[in-house]
């Protein structure tokens, strides 16, 4: 008898505790606040210190750049109102916007720009942004609101590179006074910094002296929620207004709900399986083409990525400057087999595929499908899934020490320029360990054209050069060109006015909430 009473009272107590808490419930976010849920946390609020996307998306609200990308991926003025390049292509003059102030009240002017460029280029500070500014040799303030950038050689991609979210301007006073901008950012953007609890949340509020249109929502909270399924749950309960990287499996279900919307936007990230062109049978271009024909990219895009990917017919994405449509390598297993036989491998061979798991949309699933399909033409794939850090270093060895035959590699240039894609992934000077050319691909003509395009400041001429360059790379097939991803966001139906770009950045200044 006593046992029962004891159990009953325990149950009652639990019920009481739970009952007392039912009050708040899951609820909704405040009317004047946008809650943005991302998969990771900010690394640093110093834009020059980090080139990574999650930080970029938050820093994009706090800081501004001279020029920015528009929704289609072209260049638009921001802190620079207009610009001109000298006939020799080595001197760029930018007129700056007036009446812009930093969050600490410091005026934004040519001197502020100069100080920031000097900081980015200072070798003693070891900032990664210096790499993006490759050719810039000197920056000077020609007048209070005119800045002149000089490059050693003519540098065609400069304007696109300047749209990178890392080439942003920090208050010169904050820098001078030694403010730790990695934690106390001071920019000119529509939102200013309020607080940051690492791995939890970043809180921003509207900057009252912003030069442009005031943000509609007074506050913005960025939450770090690593698990995709949990992000979906938070959207469903109303704890989030927008979630990034919505799992593709949840899209259909959420689309059936009236209070939620799924936003699918083009993305400039392309996914390749880099083929080690210096190893065994893979040295033969016919074999590499055969591998491209043997993989059913349509089926992968449809069945695994649920249509949230395009099959690429180019090295770069459709949204990227310089895109040119070329060979599509449509699924053709008999052609693949014929090419293999022609190259002397009618029965296939074995390859080792290195891949990450959980870093890119459906990456594990994609390589598992490739494994199954290549087996269909006799190519046996030994998968080696690894976590990111191990993957990065094990696939970045000199060619004679390389262990991978195939390596999953995705690249989405934050500058949205073909130069960034081709020079860092397909130029022979970028062979690991020096760079990211994990295919160890070398074609002297391609190398030369990449550099020629880079030295061309006329964008229409530059585009035409990529039109010649891209088909050459596609023909050499240094990679299995798998897909071009799309961005998937889940948004509450009551939230509107967001702007989406071909890079993973979401504009929130115009965001509004309907009740």
């Amino acid at each position: 008898m006593r046992t029962r009473r004891w159990t009953v009272s325990l149950g009652l107590m639990t019920a009481l505790v739970l009952g007392g808490l039912v009050g708040p419930g899951a609820g909704q976010t405040p009317a004047d606040t946008l809650v943005f849920v991302q998969g990771a946390d900010v690394v640093s609020f110093d834009p020059h210190r980090t080139v990574e996307l999650v930080s970029g998306n938050v820093n994009d609200k706090i800081y501004e750049r001279l020029v920015v990308l528009d929704e289609k991926g072209g260049v638009q003025p921001r802190l620079a109102t207009q610009w001109a390049v000298s006939p020799d292509g080595r001197t760029w003059t930018f007129e700056l916007r007036r009446n812009v102030v930093f969050h600490d009240g410091t005026p934004f002017n040519a001197e502020a720009v100069r100080v920031n460029f000097e900081r980015m280029l200072d070798p003693g500070l070891r900032l990664p942004t210096a790499v993006l500014l490759g050719g810039v040799s000197r920056v000077r303030a020609a007048s209070s609101h005119t800045v002149v950038l000089e490059t050693r050689e003519p540098f065609g991609p400069l304007l696109y590179n300047l749209t990178h979210y890392s080439i942003a301007f920090i208050s010169p006073r904050a820098l001078r006074e030694g403010v730790d901008v990695a934690r106390q950012p001071v920019g000119t953007g529509p939102y200013r910094f309020v607080s940051w609890i690492p791995k939890e949340a970043v809180v921003l509020e509207a900057h009252p002296r912003y030069w442009g249109e005031q943000p509609t929502l007074r506050r913005a909270i960025f939450r770090a929620v690593p698990d995709g399924t949990t992000r979906t749950v938070m959207l469903e309960t109303g704890e989030a207004d927008i979630v990034a990287n919505l799992p593709v499996q949840d899209v259909d279900r959420l689309r059936r709900r009236a209070d939620l919307q799924v936003v699918v936007h083009p993305f400039n990230r392309v996914v390749w399986l880099m083929i080690n062109t210096q190893r065994g049978p893979l040295r033969d271009v016919r074999i590499r083409q055969a591998l491209n024909y043997a993989v059913n990219k349509q089926a992968i895009a449809r069945a695994i990525l649920r249509g949230f990917a395009e099959v690429p017919c180019s090295v770069v994405a459709r949204a990227t400057f310089g895109y040119a449509k070329s060979e599509c390598y449509s699924y053709n297993p008999s052609k693949a087999k014929a090419l293999l036989a022609e190259a002397g491998y009618p029965n296939g061979f074995e390859v080792r595929l290195f891949s990450t798991s959980g870093r890119y949309l459906m990456d594990r699933e994609t390589v598992e499908a490739v494994q199954g399909q290549l087996a269909g033409v006799g190519v046996q794939v030994r998968l080696n899934l690894m976590e990111w850090a191990a993957f990065l270093s094990s696939t970045r060895r000199p060619p004679d020490q390389a262990e991978h035959d195939l390596a999953l590699w995705a690249f989405g240039p934050a500058t949205n320029d073909s130069d960034f894609v081709l020079a860092t992934n397909f130029h022979s000077s970028a062979w690991p360990p020096a760079g990211n050319n994990r295919a160890y691909y070398r074609n002297e003509q391609v190398d030369q054209l990449i550099m020629e395009a880079r030295a061309t400041v006329d964008d229409s001429k530059r585009k035409a050069m990529y039109g010649r360059l891209i088909p050459m790379i596609m023909h050499d097939a240094p990679a299995i060109f798998l897909h071009e991803l799309k961005q998937i966001y889940g948004v509450r139906a009551s939230t509107g006015g967001l702007t989406f770009y071909p890079i993973e950045i979401v504009g929130i200044t115009g965001a509004r909430k309907m009740r």
Binding site: P128, P198, K199, T230, R396
Partner: protein, 312 residues
């Protein structure tokens, strides 16, 4: 009493050795494993050997491992855990709040697990071979039949999405603690209840219990004086172990519920090869384990007087 003080003093001295050994082990393991913090920090967009080399130099990562370790220990002695390679924040400053979050989750979770586990286990032992026993088995096994990320998702879906009772994720008040604590306690309920049942039954059969009963001792006195002290050691051990693992950070629960605790901090730092963060966190976890085990061992002695002789 003096013996106990001596015992504690000796154990605390041993703690320093344990932490030294642990830190050296982790230090070497981190550097043995493939992966480079600089590459992770720079990401896919920047691959520049010159910049990488300069960063490595500035962090002292280009020196021989043992030199790095000696310098690390030197700084630890002064209380400096160093800075994160990735965020450049002070390790100590980030470690403490995350450890407190974890402690909060672990304490609530342990209370749930001990209450449920002991009740189920005792009931099963007392009502052995009855329906209660079988129900107890099934109920406790439910907690270990599904991985944490499944239990978490099912709880989130029913409690948060369908019923709208509690928030699904993130840190905040007590209402955000219940679901993760419940999820985290599930495997511990199983362990505690099953071990409790087994060790109580183990004691029931001992001769001295029969002797005590034959002497005509009251049942309650038998229980308090004999069964409880003798059966408690394995139960205490399991509770201690589970609490230790909870305090070390439950990465799966923390990930599913976006709970900013030590587990995620450690796993993220391992993924990023953020050496100073991993080292600092492991030192903390090591200290927690050692102190916890010391406490458990002291409780052994307190409940089981005969063990005092062994605490020489």
């Amino acid at each position: 009493m003096i013996r106990v003080v001596e015992f504690v003093a000796r154990r605390l001295a041993a703690t320093i050795l344990v932490l030294l050994g642990l830190s050296l082990l982790v230090f070497l393991m981190l550097r043995l494993v493939p992966g480079d913090p600089i590459q992770v920090y720079l990401g896919v967009e920047v691959a520049d050997p010159t910049l990488e080399q300069r960063l490595r130099q500035s962090l002292g990562l280009d020196r021989p491992v043992l030199v790095q370790y000696a310098r690390y220990v030197g700084r630890i002695v002064t209380g400096d855990l160093g800075r994160s390679i990735l965020t450049q924040r002070r390790v100590g400053e980030d470690l403490l709040p995350k450890a407190l979050n974890t402690a909060q989750l672990a304490t609530v979770s342990l209370m749930m697990a001990v209450t449920a586990g002991l009740s189920l286990g005792t009931l099963a032992a007392a009502r052995r071979f009855t329906l209660w026993d079988h129900v107890g088995l099934l109920a406790s096994l439910a907690g270990i039949s599904l991985p944490v990320f499944w239990i978490g998702l099912l709880l989130q879906w029913t409690v948060s999405v369908q019923l709208g009772l509690l928030p699904s994720a993130g840190k905040g008040g007590l209402e955000r603690l219940i679901l993760p604590a419940l999820t985290l306690s599930a495997p511990s309920v199983a362990l505690i209840s099953r071990v409790a049942r087994a060790s109580m039954l183990e004691v029931f059969r001992q001769d001295y219990i029969r002797v005590a009963r034959a002497k005509g001792l009251a049942e309650r006195r038998v229980m308090v004086r004999h069964i409880l002290p003798n059966g408690i050691l394995p139960i205490l051990t399991v509770v201690g172990l589970q609490f230790g693992y909870m305090l070390a950070g439950a990465v799966l629960t923390e990930t599913v519920f976006a709970w900013p605790g030590l587990g995620r901090l450690i796993v993220d730092a391992i993924k990023d090869r953020d050496y100073p963060v991993v080292q600092g966190a492991v030192l903390l976890v090591g200290a927690v384990f050692v102190l916890l085990n010391l406490t458990v061992d002291l409780i052994y002695v307190a409940v089981d007087p005969r063990l005092r002789r062994s605490a020489r």
